[in-house]
């Protein structure tokens, strides 16, 4: 690679001419002659990924390095593009719920809830009080397990391996709870349009309370290891800074946006599932660096435990499914014995439930940021358009802005702090 040289490109938007056509950039500006390459002016082009342990999924980073300093980083995505949005146009609304598990697979119940809420608003369905509270429990549990993975993988990228094991052990304990409720550890398909797949089993709320009592101690242990650790501070403070104005302009959301000082949380500003009746705080950072994102996410986990305890205290009795025979399947006993119920069951499963023509954009505060579900219906049982507004997609697009000028090892730390999940980015 000795003959590769790169000019310092002062252009803000290289690569396109006035008409919008792509152009090639000359290596030597017009009017100058090519110079002999000097050894210390070589820049190196390296490729990180798409198969790499520290990219948190199949992400490819093309990095131009001047020694250890990152001059440019260009993320390439699409390596996990699975055609979700296209598939959604060929599935009934309830058939799309299992698809939502697989987009952000680290917090599947939250995705299920997000889609169900959007479909219910589109169809004008009211869910029951018990279902509302159970969905809050599901969302907050998802927030915790997603942040556990984030904490574990970020720590392991920066070098603290033990945290990864502790976080995954906590995640296993939550898996026990989720598995008791839904039957699956990871891909839960928890909600249905109008309700839930199943109610929580007996004694589940006690197990949840017990877990909530013990979990903050694990967070305290992690904090004892990392919060004032000189290595951790050196690796994370003033690394990957995004100011509040930049974060807003780059459409960041979730902990990325709040760590930069913008106090926007969908649960507080556009409440859903009665979040405005819960007593919790939203941590907001100041500097917008990797350390602030760590602080914000750790505190969010503690606040989630607070919400969980309130939710479990207020969990009302009653049905979990709305009393709407248009959308809810009849109970199995009736479907097996009563002809009319059997026909109703058959029609609903085979033909799906038509949504009225219209559209809805429903944002929820997912662990990664603002997950928006944009559904457009033409009156049939399959949506015309299912658009997932993915928070990680927009958060990752700001990576070049955050990482340029830092060292290569900082790039890894910044990439970890963005908390991406490629399933959601690529869909």
């Amino acid at each position: 690679m000795a003959d590769k040289r790169v000019l310092e490109l002062a252009l803000a938007t290289p690569g396109v001419d006035a008409a919008g056509n792509a152009v090639r950039l000359p290596l030597v500006p017009a009017g100058q002659t090519a110079q002999e390459p000097e050894l210390d002016s070589d820049h190196m082009l390296i490729n990180i990924g798409p198969q790499h342990p520290a990219t948190h999924g199949v992400l490819r980073l093309v990095v131009e390095l001047d020694g250890e300093v990152v001059m440019r980083v260009i993320p390439h995505i699409g390596y996990l593009h699975s055609g979700f949005e296209k598939l959604g146009e060929y599935r009934h609304y309830n058939q799309i719920i299992p698809l939502t598990d697989r987009t952000d697979y680290l917090s599947a119940p939250a995705n299920n809830v997000a889609f169900a809420l959007a479909a219910e608003r589109l169809m004008g369905i009211e869910i029951t009080p018990r279902c509302t509270v159970l969905r809050v429990i599901a969302c907050e549990l998802s927030r915790i397990i997603s942040h556990l993975v984030w904490a574990g993988t970020t720590a392991i990228d920066i070098g603290a391996f033990t945290v990864f094991l502790w976080m995954f052990q906590e995640r296993e304990r939550v898996y026990n709870l989720i598995e008791a409720w839904t039957g699956a550890r990871l891909t839960t398909s928890l909600t249905r349009v109008g309700g839930l797949m199943a109610d929580v089993p007996d004694g589940w709320t006690d197990r949840l309370r017990e877990w909530c009592r013990r979990f903050p101690k694990t967070l305290d242990e992690v904090d004892r290891m990392l919060l004032r650790n000189g290595i951790w501070l050196g690796r994370t403070q003033d690394v990957g800074v995004m100011t509040a104005a930049e974060a807003t302009n780059y459409s960041l959301s979730g902990p990325m946006l709040r760590a930069s000082g913008v106090a926007y949380d969908v649960r507080k500003d556009q409440p859903y599932l009665d979040y405005d009746t819960y007593d919790f705080e939203v941590p907001v950072g100041e500097r917008g660096d990797v350390y602030d994102r760590y602080l914000v996410r750790m505190e969010e986990m503690r606040q989630s435990v607070r919400i969980l305890l309130q939710a479990v205290d207020r969990l009302p009795e009653g049905p979990i499914n709305a009393d709407d025979p248009r959308v809810i399947l009849p109970p199995k006993k009736k479907a097996m014995s009563d002809m009319e119920s059997m026909i109703h069951h058959f029609k609903q499963v085979m033909e799906g439930v038509p949504a009225p023509a219209g559209e809805v954009y429903f944002p929820v505060e997912n662990p990664k940021g603002e997950l928006g579900t944009y559904l457009v219906s033409d009156g049939t049982a399959k949506p015309v358009r299912w658009r997932i507004r993915p928070p990680s997609f927009l958060n990752l697009a700001a990576l070049p802005k955050m990482a340029e000028g830092h060292l290569l090892s900082d790039l890894i730390a910044i990439n970890a702090s963005v908390d991406i999940v490629m399933g959601e980015i690529d869909r």
Binding site: V16, A22, S251
Partner: protein, 211 residues
């Protein structure tokens, strides 16, 4: 998003200021939708961002919608939010499917639009004039089965599975570079001819292209 039927006050202000460029508006599922003319869309969006009473400083989403009904135009949808005012607005541009699918890029207004517009190009074939890096983002650059989210694109794609595997395996991994990356990379030679434009530094062994 409460207050179901009253439209966002921005609509009336837009009509007063931009007149005929503002089309019909509606409130659907709690959100205000307003249609705007393609030619003035960039000005309208810039004004919405900068006007001190509007301040839509946060671009939530840019996407496109194609309906099953062939009579309906293809819509480019912008979802805007004002964080200081906690307001939300959805703008749509109708594009006639038989004409050129082109709108002005808003990357100069919101940096978040960069990848969003690239995805709309990749999935729908809508051109964003002025976009600094107008490449596919989810599929690879030399993917030529089409634009997947169009309604005339079949679910399983246009080619047979064997052909899809063959083309996927044949794609040069290093060729997925943007134009400015290619100024230093070797993969320029393996791009198809229509992507190789402009002067370039001849690497040893590679053909030189005309300026």
């Amino acid at each position: 998003m409460s207050g179901a039927a009253t439209p966002n006050a921005s609509v009336a202000t837009l009509r007063a200021r931009f007149g005929a460029a503002i089309g019909r508006s509606a409130v659907v599922s709690g959100a205000t939708i307003v249609h705007v003319a393609r030619e003035r869309a960039h000005d309208i969006l810039a004004w919405l961002r900068d006007d001190p009473d509007e301040r839509y400083d946060y671009l939530v989403d840019v996407t496109a919608v194609e309906y099953r009904d062939p009579e309906r135009p293809l819509e480019v949808v912008y979802q805007l939010r004002s964080i200081p005012r906690n307001a939300f607005l959805r703008l749509k541009i109708n594009l006639d499917r038989s004409g050129p699918l082109e709108v002005d890029s808003v990357v100069d207004l919101w940096q978040g639009a960069n990848w969003l517009e690239r995805e709309a190009w990749d999935m729908f074939g809508v051109r964003f004039v002025g976009h600094p890096d107008h490449r596919r983002i989810l599929m690879w650059e030399t993917y030529d089965e089409g634009h997947p989210l169009r309604k005339d694109f079949p679910l399983r794609g246009r080619f047979s599975r064997a052909e899809q595997v063959r083309r996927a395996l044949g794609a040069d991994l290093s060729a997925h570079y943007s134009m400015d990356e290619l100024s230093i990379a070797d993969a320029y030679a393996s791009l198809p001819a229509d992507l190789r434009v402009g002067p370039r530094h001849p690497a040893p062994g590679a053909e030189t292209s005309r300026p």
